[in-house]
Symmetry: C3
Subunit: 392 residues, 3 copies
């Protein structure tokens, strides 16, 4: 246990701040939730111009492994080449525009178009195009796959559709070193659940950012983690959040017990069990919730990390990919029971989506007016402020 | 039987008039059935500015009983408070806009938001809002539910979304006392069927307003009630209709027998059976059909009352709620067989919806031109005239 | 066999030409596949102003037999009258606009409206209209069904929604006598399959017009008919195509054997079997593929004829009716096995629709740019040129 505690003490990553609760803060006006025009503007200003989360490097460990992800209506191939580098390409053949890959994930030796068999190497270069040598002035080098900008932060893969881009490292400077305890680049994804939610994507962020709703909406969660225990250290800007307490000896699982080797473990055997003795300040008694603008929710538990990807579809519909990550050695241990965590959050997620859908319905009414945020909703209010600064 | 006949003779409610059949009347032009712009204008001019039927007071007999009804895209709560008064509210929380009630009907002690537990009394006043006392200048009195105008006519609940409203009593002045025989305020709803019809709402009215189609479309109905027996007394304006004859000793039921205590009965035992001796002028041998602009069809039979509510969804789609009402004492009698009436009209309704859907399909053609109404379609023509007077 | 070969030698119908492959030809820009505005313009300029295939005369052999076909959103009745003439009518009653016939095919003694029983003769004249004699100045002669222009070419029924029309014979002058070998007016339809394809209608034409895709997409077809054996004789304009070779002794069926009496047979017994001795120039070793702008694909095999009708629904959706036709005496012969051909092409069709759908998906991307046609895609390039000449 010592190493964990020392590590925690050594990093000054978490500095609780006074929440910037501003009296008079109100929810966003109706067009932000219901207008197709605002939605189109968001897609353009935000999703086509930001680093958006598309996956984790552990999901494509070997050469030829790929993920296909839609961003802003565009299907993108994220693929690892033989040198180990990860590339992003538009999923569109340069010949007649055919969709190249249909599966969401898979492995291939090269990218071959299913229509006329044009073939691209894993780095996107056109290496086969039957009969095109009969076409004067045709040059394979002119027909590589269209690339998309891609970067890795803490093991997570981000893509960016825009031309002029803030480098990924610079974008994440405010978070540099902050999450090193959790060993994020090395974690392994064990489970994904996809949700189709009939609510605006911003309602999902606003819901994630407060526990004012927990007593009524999440009775099981509230028993393990007191709804009023939140302490936030990121309270303005694109990255927001902090931690909530976990009752001593408990874990956010169906059984209430830790379900895996701690994610921050260095792999020493002693870390394989929950540690009630870690003290009130220990990470074993805290769950950290951060929202990463514009499409990532990062929930770090002692024994697992949960990540939501948000994919807005229409003003009133959002697809959500939820992944559960564990210590790379977790599966080797006897106590590994990922389903214990997955089921706990699957139930909790659905409770959240339901109230988000109810909000979407009510906000669509002509009677809706922006309502007053309570003192326990300072983070949703801060999220709204950042969002409006981008949209203004 | 005497009391019924005397009552009938005593009220001058029905004065048959010569139908105002106007040679040359034609059906409405295509945009009135197919244009999204016309539909939007109708929703604004008609449904957002009229008293529209939303239910019957017998459906919410006790304190806390509620109906949720959509009007013009708005979800409204119609609820009875502890004093017995009936209120209408927008179904939208004043905090973050959440839909408050999901069920179409139910009972509650107070209206509590499922998201953050803000709580409203049955009269709409905010009585609970956790942590909001920490918000400076927040005052519960400023956050009552948004009310909607509501009134009762003959026991039926009408709502009106507009600001400037003709009082309900004034609107219904032309019908004052006309339907007193049928005991409408005291009837009890026994059954509702909801229909989703792929036709413009006006086609439903036009279909209801003539029996020219009955020989081909309703063979069973035509055997009991001659298609050419209609006599109309309301032939211009928002309220239109009259009666058709029922063959002696018959009832509009599957069995052909009366299925319940007459709705106009004072409860004397002798009224519990059909009365072939009531004579040609008796209400036991007539069924009265009236259309109440813009969303009510009122069909008064000797033994039951059927009411259709029309809810336009799109130019080519209308939801219809059909309720069957009976004498409050009907259920106590041995002859009570509501299914006998419900099934008769469920079959007949579906026959009507089918031809309305066929009309919608044909009218969408570029080949459609307004066609000539026959001499037996004077009421549809009058309905069209009133509609056009509102839309011009 | 002699008569067949002589016939083939006698007609100068097929003159192979040098394909007009033009270096630099590229696929169409994205709006032609994705824009609702372009789609609306196509419907107006092309489908509302062209002779479009609607069926074959063998499908309505007797008086009162009808087909109902949608063209450009309009439902049309194609019906044979008692004199044997075939008429086209809008499927809309002249009274209140009701859809007259719901079935896609059937037989009737007269066309009677299901709503108010107005009745039309098979030549479209109004012959019954109850109670309309009570309407002053109403004259049945003014209310015949609205006709649509209709013509027959090689037994196929074409309709045209426009007022000013090139006569059908004149339109088909370039093909006069060209297909006489195949006995098209006398063939009998044995099977229809309807497909709902999530791709733009032009992708279907482009797919049909080349076999560059065959090695990868159609392994079974490629074994019977070499992908690079195409010789085209119609290489510019609204009618495009030519033939491909069939390997000696083979047929385009699941079994590889002929499945029916040759369609061009004069009925002599000797023609009832496949003839490997017919020689390299014989039609028994060729399959002819022609596209007839804007909605017909005509595929003539030795033993059957397959015809696709294309019905664009939206920019990204096309309904396809595929009919298989056989010699009128085919069903009398022992070797008649239409399923052998139908299954072969049903599998092949679905392989084509799949890659068309993948193209639709990829072309919708902002990364799509017109790509270079290969030397084996001269016919798709010619089809695009003709299409653009109409749309410019």
């Amino acid at each position: 246990m010592h190493s964990l505690i020392m590590k925690s003490q050594a990093t000054p990553a978490f500095r609780p701040t006074v929440d910037t609760f501003r009296a008079g803060a109100k929810t966003l006006p109706r067009p932000h939730f219901a207008s197709p025009e605002v939605f189109a503007e968001e897609q353009e200003r935000i999703f086509a111009n930001s680093w958006v989360l598309g996956g984790h490097q552990s999901q494509i460990p070997a050469a030829g492994d790929y993920i296909v992800q839609r961003v802003n209506g565009e299907s993108l191939i994220v693929i690892r080449d033989k040198s180990g580098a990860i590339h992003g390409f538009f999923n569109v053949c340069r010949h007649r525009g055919t969709r190249l890959i249909e599966d969401q994930r898979g492995k291939c030796a090269a990218i071959q178009c299913p229509y006329h068999a044009w073939t691209y190497a894993l780095d996107g270069k056109l290496i086969g195009a039957p009969h095109m040598d009969e076409v004067p002035e045709f040059n394979k080098a002119d027909y590589s796959l269209h690339p998309v900008k891609l970067g890795i932060w803490e093991g997570f893969i981000f893509v960016n559709l825009s031309e002029a881009v803030t480098p990924l490292d610079k974008w994440f400077t405010p978070l540099a070193g902050k999450f090193s305890h959790w060993n994020l680049p090395n974690l392994q994804s064990a489970k994904r659940i996809e949700y189709d939610v009939r609510a605006n994507w911003k309602l999902i962020f606003e819901n994630y950012s407060e526990c004012y709703h927990c007593p009524g909406v999440h009775p099981a969660l509230s028993k393990i983690s007191p709804y009023d225990s939140a302490e936030n250290d990121l309270t303005e800007g694109p990255f927001l959040g902090g931690f909530m307490k976990i009752n001593r000896g408990k874990s956010l699982t169906m059984s209430g017990n830790a379900c895996a080797l701690p994610v921050g473990s260095n792999g020493e055997p002693a870390l394989a069990t929950a540690s009630p003795s870690a003290g009130g300040e220990g990470r074993t008694e805290r769950v950290f919730y951060y929202s990463i603008f514009p499409n990532m929710l990062l929930s770090m538990h002692p024994d697992y990390v949960m990540v939501h990807q948000l994919w807005p579809q229409t003003p009133d519909r959002t697809l959500i990919h939820c992944d559960w990550f564990f210590h790379p050695d977790a599966a080797k241990r006897e106590n590994f029971n990922p389903h214990d965590a997955v089921e706990f959050w699957d139930i909790t997620n659905k409770q959240d989506w339901h109230v988000c859908e109810l909000s979407q319905q009510g906000i669509s009414s002509c009677a809706y007016q922006p309502g007053p945020y309570s003192s326990r909703e300072s983070i949703p209010a801060a999220w709204d402020r950042y969002y409006l600064s981008i949209m203004k």
